[in-house]
């Protein structure tokens, strides 16, 4: 983030992103429902709001930093190959094709 070379990593892989998003959605909705029920029993709306904010705080701790569980499926990049061979061959085939279409 912000294009600075931090000494620690800040990104997750794709399966980790899916897990993190599902986790915080469930946590915040759960705290919201519990807060709504308790707020209705106590007839205090502030209890509901505080409960949702508490759920947000717990989600921030659990899903915002890139914990190792979100980095278990690293993206597999293909191995680099020497591209000079392919650039020569592809340039030659382009030139011969153009001569044939003329």
């Amino acid at each position: 983030m912000i294009d600075i070379e931090w000494p620690f990593y800040t990104h997750m892989d794709f399966y980790g992103q899916k897990k993190a998003e599902r986790l915080f959605q469930i946590i915040i909705i759960l705290f919201g429902i519990i807060g709504f029920i308790i707020g209705y029993m106590m007839q205090q709306f502030s209890v509901t709001i505080y409960s949702v904010l508490l759920g947000t705080f717990v989600s921030v701790l659990l899903t915002l930093p890139p914990w190792p569980i979100y980095r278990n499926n690293p993206i597999e990049w293909q191995k680099t190959i020497d591209s000079r061979i392919y650039s020569d061959i592809s340039a030659q085939s382009l030139i011969t094709k153009n001569f044939e279409s003329l």
Binding site: F24, F36, G39, Y40, F45, V52, T56
Partner: protein
């Protein structure tokens, strides 16, 4: 979701959406509430004076002076959707020139958590009881207490309480020396 800030952004937006849905839920949970109650109003020593109203036209109008007794207990009106109550005491009467006159004599704001039980004796009215003309003598006036519910999420509801009283003003004007309160006008 790849960077830290995009995760933070998504989390924040989701929190706001959940809060909005819960607020709509609070609105629906108190949609059919009536907020009705009974109060006791009393009137002592009503008199009528004939004075120049300097805040209106320079003619002489009737000014009613009275003391109020108010007894009410409004604790049960504060459910989780009520932020504050705005109480007002209104006097309604009829004159030959107007078929309905309404004058607010007293009001009060009660916030959630403040004391909502009142037993007031012989208080003066908060506002002057000017008539638009000179027809207050021997006029039958009805006092009604009403309140305005100010919600966290919902409509503004006007409710008139049960328990209104009526009284009749005397037939003669009072001189300013015999009146005990609000005798600041000129005669």
């Amino acid at each position: 979701m790849h960077s830290f800030f995009s995760r933070l952004n998504t989390l924040f937006a989701f929190t706001l959406t959940v809060l909005a849905v819960l607020t709509i839920g609070v609105f629906f949970s108190t949609f059919f509430e009536k907020y009705q109650d009974t109060v006791a109003i009393g009137v002592n020593k009503p008199i009528v004076k004939h004075m120049t109203d300097f805040s209106a036209n320079r003619k002489k109008n009737d000014l009613g002076v009275l003391q109020l007794n108010l007894d009410m207990n409004l604790d049960h009106l504060f459910d989780w959707n009520v932020k504050q109550l705005f109480l007002y005491l209104v006097a309604e009467y009829m004159t030959p020139t107007n078929s309905l006159n309404q004058v607010v004599l007293w009001d009060k704001i009660i916030r959630r958590g403040e004391n909502a039980r009142f037993n007031l004796h012989d208080i003066a009215t908060k506002y002057y009881f000017w008539d638009d003309g000179e027809h207050l003598k021997s006029n039958n006036v009805t006092l009604t207490l009403g309140w305005n519910i100010i919600s966290n999420a919902g409509r503004l509801i006007h409710v008139r309480a049960n328990g209104s009283t009526s009284f009749v003003f005397p037939d003669n004007y009072a001189t300013s020396r015999s009146a005990s309160s609000k005798s600041s006008g000129q005669e």
